[in-house]
């Protein structure tokens, strides 16, 4: 066992861990932070993304012992208290999820992207979250959600990026046979 001290979502923990413990398992099983999920065995899916000292990492590909002395933020701490982070809110409003399994990782990766690029284009969003896989949405509404959040975080007009329309309008335009329910 190796002793580690980490700050997770604003609280400090000192624990003994087996060196082989992956950070994601430490977070979920030892700290009960089950908001962070595991979606693969190959470091590809990004579902486990957290921030380690402010940078997005795949917590299934970091050992808990490597996080010693560091600050971790998970999806559970991202809003920093009550309410939702603007990116969480945007995923909700723009229908950026279906089953929701990829969502914690998508949100953590998107926040990291927006820190480097506060006004990404559609292509830049797609590239920025290339480390995160979604099996449900087809990504369209995820991209809209990230751009919507970006506008809101920049304090743009009504938080809506130019040319941004609600998903219902877009989806109906793409599939005119779908009746709009009002």
């Amino acid at each position: 066992m190796t002793p580690i001290t980490v700050r997770v979502d604003g609280a400090s923990y000192t624990d003994d861990v087996e060196p082989r413990t992956l950070l994601v398992h430490y977070l979920r099983e030892q700290l009960g932070k089950v908001g962070t999920v595991v979606g693969c065995d190959t470091s590809n899916c990004g579902a486990c993304t957290v921030h380690l000292d402010g940078e997005a990492v795949k917590s299934c590909t970091v050992l808990a012992v490597q996080a010693d002395g560091s600050e971790v933020t998970t999806i559970e701490g991202v809003a920093g208290g009550a309410g939702l982070h603007p990116v969480q809110k945007a995923f909700h409003e723009m229908h950026g999820l279906q089953c929701g399994y990829c969502t914690p990782g998508m949100i953590m990766a998107s926040i990291d992207l927006l820190k480097d690029n506060p006004d990404p284009s559609d292509d830049e969003v797609r590239e920025g979250i290339e480390g995160n896989l979604c099996r449900c949405t087809g990504y369209q509404n995820i991209v809209r959600a990230v751009r919507h959040a970006a506008a809101e975080m920049r304090g743009g007009a009504n938080g809506v990026p130019s040319g941004s329309v609600s998903p219902a309008v877009v989806d109906t335009a793409a599939a005119p046979h779908v009746a709009v329910q009002s």
Partner: protein
């Protein structure tokens, strides 16, 4: 899956790290960013008895100016390399190739040195280091030695870094007046190169004075396309001349056939990507 149990050492200096490796016998693995090692340990393709973590070793991270070269510490992360002004100015090919590695999460952890020592034939940085004639500074208990890029990549996943040694830094000559391009062919996001080509070109009065071309995934180690380089030296900087030289890119290569591509397709790709990389680098 989680890795098999292992003993863990967390040295804080290069000397301590070398001592820890020496103390642990044969079945020891060095841990840098862990972005190649942890996945293979999770899949139980590797189960070292001891892991020596370089994460807290001082002095291995960062890029410094050293006169006619820049020196990149082995533990400099991919994202640090991408943001570094010295790399951008003197060896932009490294930044361009690094930007194609994996995804931003992996780039936050994975290191320049780890990617080079891992020496995956599909890895993007080995061919770049080879094309740029980098020098590798390797430390052992008996001292430090410098290995030229041409001797560093020995075989599949094998470099000149011996048992009990560490890569500490990489010296890259400053390429003043050169232009560069990395052309990577892969099918989906965060995927490894099926083939990629690293090109650096120096133009002089409408001619290509010198060119360096490195090939990714065209054999068990990265390769230099020497025939292309010779055909380009002194050639007119025209699309035709570059296309003719690029036809020689597959000479002497020995690519593998796998699920992604057959060997003959890889050889075709090497020519096409060489033409594109050299053309772009030459401003054509």
């Amino acid at each position: 899956m989680i890795p098999a149990p292992f003993a863990y050492a967390r040295p804080t200096t290069v000397e301590e790290a070398l001592q820890a490796i020496a103390d642990c016998g044969e079945d020891v693995k060095v841990l840098a960013g862990g972005q190649s090692l942890i996945p293979v340990m999770r899949l139980r393709l590797a189960a070292p008895e001891t892991v020596v973590d370089l994460g807290k070793v001082a002095g291995l991270r960062g890029v410094r100016d050293d006169g006619d070269a820049i020196v990149i510490g082995a533990m400099t992360t991919h994202s640090d390399v991408l943001a570094d002004p010295l790399v951008a100015e003197h060896a932009p090919l490294i930044a361009e190739a690094t930007g194609t590695v994996a995804d931003r999460q992996v780039r936050h952890r994975g290191t320049f040195g780890g990617a080079l020592v891992h020496a995956d034939p599909a890895g993007d940085l080995p061919a770049v280091a080879l094309a740029l004639d980098a020098e590798f500074v390797v430390a052992g208990q008996s001292g430090r030695r410098t290995v030229p890029a041409g001797e560093f990549f020995v075989d599949y996943l094998t470099t000149a870094v011996g048992e009990g040694e560490l890569l500490v830094e990489v010296r890259v000559p400053k390429y003043t007046g050169w232009s560069m391009r990395y052309e990577k062919f892969n099918r989906v996001a965060q995927a490894w190169s099926i083939v990629a080509v690293a090109a650096a070109v120096r133009r002089e009065d409408g001619r290509i004075a010198e060119a360096r071309v490195g090939l990714t995934n065209m054999g068990p180690t990265p390769l230099r396309a020497r025939q292309v380089e010779e055909a380009l030296a002194g050639a007119e900087a025209t699309a035709e001349a570059v296309a003719a030289a690029a036809e020689r890119a597959a000479e002497g290569t020995d690519p593998t056939s796998d699920l992604n591509a057959q060997a003959d397709y890889r050889q075709h790709l090497a020519k096409v990507l060489t033409r594109r990389a050299v053309s772009t680098a030459a401003g054509l």
